[in-house]
Amino acid sequence: MLEVSKVRKSFGKTEVVKGVTFSVERGEAFGLLGPNGAGKSTTISMICGLLPFNEGDITVDGYSVKNNPMEIKKRIGVVPQDIALYPTMSAMDNLLFWGKMYGLSRKNALNRAYEVLDIVGLRDRAKDKIETFSGGMKRRINIGAALMHRPQILIMDEPTVGIDPQSRNHILETVKQLNKEGMTIIYTSHYMEEVEFLCERIGIIDHGEVIAVGTKEDLINRLSGGTVIKMEIGHYNKSLVEELNTLPFVEKIVTKDDERELEIFVNSSHQALGELVSTAVKNNVEVSTIQVQEPNLETLFLQLTGRSLRD
């Protein structure tokens, strides 16, 4: 359905997308997971034909963005990262307008607008101006506008940024439902949980490169048998971290939160817990909590890049 192959894009001298390759099958939900500035939005703009690129190609249903951007635009609905709506107009007016821009007749647009309002659960607010909506409601209409023409592919660029958990759950459930009904979904986020919840296949992107692609299981299996142990300590102590680093099973230590929280990558957790605690005690550092983390994508990202998805 969608093929992105060896796409490169530079802004001036800086290359921000460095040969990205991935493909998405019909009916699949594909997640693009990466930290701020990884190149997610840039990649999406290129898929939608909004941004010319230097090398590589992108095809949807066999149509290339370079030669047939209009054919692609008809097939996809984009939910931009920003709320691209007219604030002084009602939700209904906005949906009708975007419906017409996708080529619907007035009558079809009107019928579809009511369906879409049902999907996003805002039918009772149809006549209200967007500027009177809460952040979460705006986000929902923002998604609704991309659904007006029943796109084959729905591309969502961080559709849950800055909203409350309730709205976020509503959105995730909606997207999951759309996917069940057969819509192909491409979902970008830097929230691992969202991508894990929605997507069968996931691409991890960092610094303009896809550093891993596969199903969640595939990806977790790639973790070199390692586990992450989170240890919260009373105070930071440099010599403790140094000593921990010399332990044979410790692969890497990442510190965060005033450096009182240590994330310690270990290749086997069997004797690790005991040794870590005793090393801390030996250094006169109090351990307030210690826990073994289920391996997840965050762990994988940490292992691959040495950084966490969000700071």
């Binding site: 703009s45 939608c48 034909g49 909004l50 941004l51 209009m70 635009k73 008809k74 996809i76 984009v78 931009p80 990262q81 920003d82 709320i83 691209a84 709506l85 007219y86 604030p87 002084t88 107009m89 007016d93 307008f97 975007w98 017409k100 821009m101 996708y102 080529g103 506008a145």
Partner: protein, 385 residues
């Protein structure tokens, strides 16, 4: 085409859904017209009065009196020297013009005919009156010279020819604009209100256009532009839709202002085709200016701020608030480079002189030239990515 219309009608709806748009588009210009049109008054009540003291009692002094009476700055009242002196003292008159004995003879001989002009010190338009009197005398001098030449050939007295020439010249040549404007008494009465009406319509159409062209900046900021281009809508259709909306909004505004000023102030806008062409070229120019400014600023707020300053300043220079004949000549020179001056000239042609399309070729061409420059720079500066 469907999409162009969808964008255009949506933009229009977006504007008219806001109550404050009506105030800005229609309320303010009509209010300003009422205020400025009323304060400056129509030309007969706004005139000052001067005494005319005729010591010569000749054909030429009579001719001077008639010529001078024909202006829209002052009224002349014939009276004796003593009468004038008391009235000036009582502040009933602002000054006097005295034609001394031998005035006519000076025309026949080589001498310079003189008129004495005395005015009270608080009178500020003296330079203009000076000018008008000098012009009148110069004109009479030319006529009398012509008559003398004629009399040398025909052997008849030059005094016979002079009145004929005088009549010919003042009816046939609109050489001095003021003379021809004031020829038709009915239209002359409406001069100031019409001019302010046209002026404030121009100004507020410009202000509205400035905020309307700002939608391009806003669309890019909010991401609406991004989304528009992600739909199967071509860049050309998007621009077409926006441009059509600019022109329709401008036309709706101008049309309503024309209708309202006709009803409220009795303004006659003249040849409708002429008005249509003139306003369209003005709109093109203003849309160009709007895009030009948005090519240099980052936000709609900046666009609004720059726009207002530029519009207000150029409207002052362009004779929108007051007639250009009352400003110093260097400012009249600057005015040649202001689009509003040309728009006002076009309207003067249409409203006051009953001009037709041929008569506004010059102002329309100049406005179109401004448009080309603004649009060319504006469109290359605005980024549509």
């Amino acid at each position: 085409m469907k999409r162009i219309w969808a964008i255009c009608s949506f933009e229009i709806k977006k504007l008219f859904i806001k109550p404050q748009s009506y105030l800005l588009m229609f309320g303010m210009p009509l209010l300003f017209t009422l205020l400025f049109g009323g304060i400056m008054g129509d030309s007969s009540t706004g005139k000052v009065t001067l005494a005319f003291i005729d010591q010569d009692h000749s054909m030429m002094s009579k001719s001077l009196y008639d010529t001078l009476q024909n202006n829209d700055l002052f009224l002349l009242k014939e009276m004796s020297h003593n009468e004038a002196a008391t009235q000036i003292k009582d502040k009933k008159l602002i000054g006097l013009l005295e034609v001394s004995k031998g005035f006519e003879n000076k025309f026949a001989s080589e001498g310079q005919p003189m008129v004495t002009f005395k005015y009270s010190p608080d009178f500020t338009s003296n330079a203009m009156i000076d000018q008008i009197v000098s012009n009148a005398i110069a004109k009479m001098k030319i006529q009398s010279t012509a008559s003398t030449v004629w009399s040398n050939y025909s052997k008849e007295s030059w005094e016979k020819m002079y009145p004929v020439l005088d009549k010919e010249i003042s009816t046939s040549t609109p050489s001095i604009q003021k003379v021809s404007i004031t020829k038709n008494m009915k239209k002359q009465e409406m001069g100031n209100v019409s001019a302010r009406s046209a002026g404030f319509s121009i100004m507020f159409v410009m202000i509205v256009m400035m905020s309307v062209t700002g939608v391009l900046l806003e669309a890019r900021k909010t991401g609406v532009w991004y989304r528009l281009l992600s739909t199967p809508t071509s860049r050309l259709e998007v621009m077409g839709g926006y441009f059509l909306s600019f022109f329709l909004i401008g036309w709706i505004q101008f049309g309503v202002l024309m209708a309202a000023s006709t009803l409220l102030f009795g303004v006659h806008w003249g040849n409708l085709l002429g008005v249509f062409i003139l306003v369209t070229s003005l709109l093109l120019c203003v849309v160009g200016l709007g895009l030009f400014i948005s090519g240099f600023v980052k936000t709609t707020e900046q666009q609004g701020a720059f726009g207002s300053v530029i519009i207000t300043a150029t409207c002052m220079l362009g004779g929108v608030y007051w007639p250009l004949d009352i400003v110093p000549s260097f400012m009249q020179k600057i005015a040649e480079f202001i689009p509003q001056t040309w728009a006002m000239r076009g309207f003067t042609e249409l409203i006051s002189r009953g001009g037709s399309v041929q008569d506004i070729v010059a102002p329309v061409s100049v406005l179109l030239a401004f448009s080309v420059v603004f649009l060319a720079i504006g469109i290359t500066r605005v980024k549509y990515e």
